[in-house]
């Protein structure tokens, strides 16, 4: 239960208006820090829900696929430039962000992860890697301003940040494939 408590604390910290405003003022922090942290807080809080409603998860997320899909959909949605813009300008969207990322992405990810096969886990991994690469191309490649609330240079920074993330994921993936994991267990 301790974990869920930490998750809740992190969550409350993140939705404090000054913290939220600060994190959202920088584009790359908005996308690569605030959003993942929100998912992570949900990931931690998931323990509470799992203990409280074990039958719900067992029945409705039996093989982990529904949770996996929910996570991927919600995560992808927040990668749309417009969603990021509107999270800043429209209050309802902002509230939706604070609800959807922890509870519709973090919680299902936690619950699904253990139930998924290696293929399912690999699928999430590759999917996120592709999304980051795609964003790198999108944000570095376009000379237009995609997000109205951020400067073009922020956009480029975000692009390079995404590229770095994707590169790290690719490197990790390669070492994972080419090293014998059993020797570390």
């Amino acid at each position: 239960m301790k974990q869920a408590m930490y998750g809740l604390l992190l969550y409350i910290f993140l939705i404090l208006p000054p913290v939220a405003n600060l994190l959202e003022s920088i584009m790359i922090v908005h996308m690569h820090t605030q959003m993942p942290l929100l998912v992570f807080s949900g990931f931690l809080m998931a323990q509470f829900f799992q203990l409280r409603f074990p039958r719900f998860f067992a029945k409705w997320n039996q093989n982990g696929v529904p949770g996996l899909l929910l996570f991927l959909i919600v995560w992808s949605y927040w990668m749309i430039p417009r969603a990021m813009d509107e999270a800043i300008t429209i209050q309802v969207v902002e509230i939706f962000k604070f609800i959807s990322l922890p509870f519709l992405a973090g919680v299902p990810l936690r619950d699904s992860w253990k139930k998924l096969s290696t293929f399912g886990k690999g699928f999430i991994y590759v999917f996120i890697m592709l999304i980051f690469s795609l964003m790198a191309v999108l944000y570095i490649g376009t000379d237009e301003q995609i997000c109205n609330n951020y400067l073009e240079v922020d956009q480029k920074t975000l692009g390079w940040g995404s590229l770095a993330m994707a590169a790290c994921m690719i490197i990790y993936g390669i070492q994972f494939i080419f090293t014998d994991q059993s020797t570390y267990e």
């Binding site: 929910l70 509107e86 609330n149």
Partner: protein
């Protein structure tokens, strides 16, 4: 079926996801806030607020006096801009050239509004307009001195201007076409000069019966 709930959950999630993306992008039409803005604006057709302009010849008049039942082809810019504004005004000049002369001044006027009134005084504007062949009559360059009026105009037309702290601004860029009744009629891609000119000519042709 043993795990019908699991299957149902998958279906529900997919429906939720489709709905989320559908609503979030106005039915897959607008993936950026800019395209959403254009879409919204063209649906709402807001009326151009009656702002007070001061042009390059130091004349002061309201927008309604200026437009007086004519079409107005509009851009927003600032003269210290080194990136997109010269391109925007250059393209605007191309559109100006492409419109048959019989319409210009009689049915349509061109207007470049500066959102940097502090630096863009009439002198600066007068110099700037010579670069693009603006005649100061049928194509005028003007500033809006009243901060409140300027802000309300930018807001109404969804122009977002962010100062970057070095005296420059990041802003969204487009051609705007205001109709005879002062309604926003079109937002045109400023990089597609021919398309923009065609749209304007077609509209002029309709209005004046050829």
């Amino acid at each position: 079926m043993k795990n019908w709930r699991n299957t149902l959950a998958i279906i529900l999630v997919i429906i939720f996801g489709s709905a989320l993306f559908y609503v979030g992008t106005d039915g897959f039409r607008a993936f950026t806030a800019e395209s959403a803005r254009t879409y919204e604006l063209l649906k709402d057709k807001p009326v151009f607020p009656d702002v007070t302009l001061q042009d390059s010849q130091e004349r002061t008049y309201s927008f309604d006096e200026f437009a007086e039942g004519k079409f107005v082809f509009l851009t927003f810019m600032y003269t210290s801009c080194t990136t997109v504004c010269p391109q925007l005004e250059m393209n605007m000049a191309d559109v100006y050239e492409a419109i048959p002369k019989k319409y210009i001044g009689k049915d349509i006027l061109f207007l470049s509004i500066s959102f940097d009134p502090e630096r863009d005084n009439p002198e600066t504007l007068a110099k700037y307009q010579t670069y693009f062949g603006s005649d100061g009559e049928t194509w005028r360059m003007a500033r809006i001195n009243d901060k409140k009026e300027l802000d309300s105009l930018l807001k109404r037309l969804g122009v977002i201007v962010i100062p970057d702290g070095n005296g420059n601004f990041t802003h969204n860029t487009a051609f705007y076409l205001i109709g005879k009744q002062g309604h926003l009629m079109e937002i045109l891609d400023y990089t597609k000069i021919e398309d923009a000119a065609d749209t304007v000519i077609a509209m002029l042709g309709n209005e004046t019966g050829g």
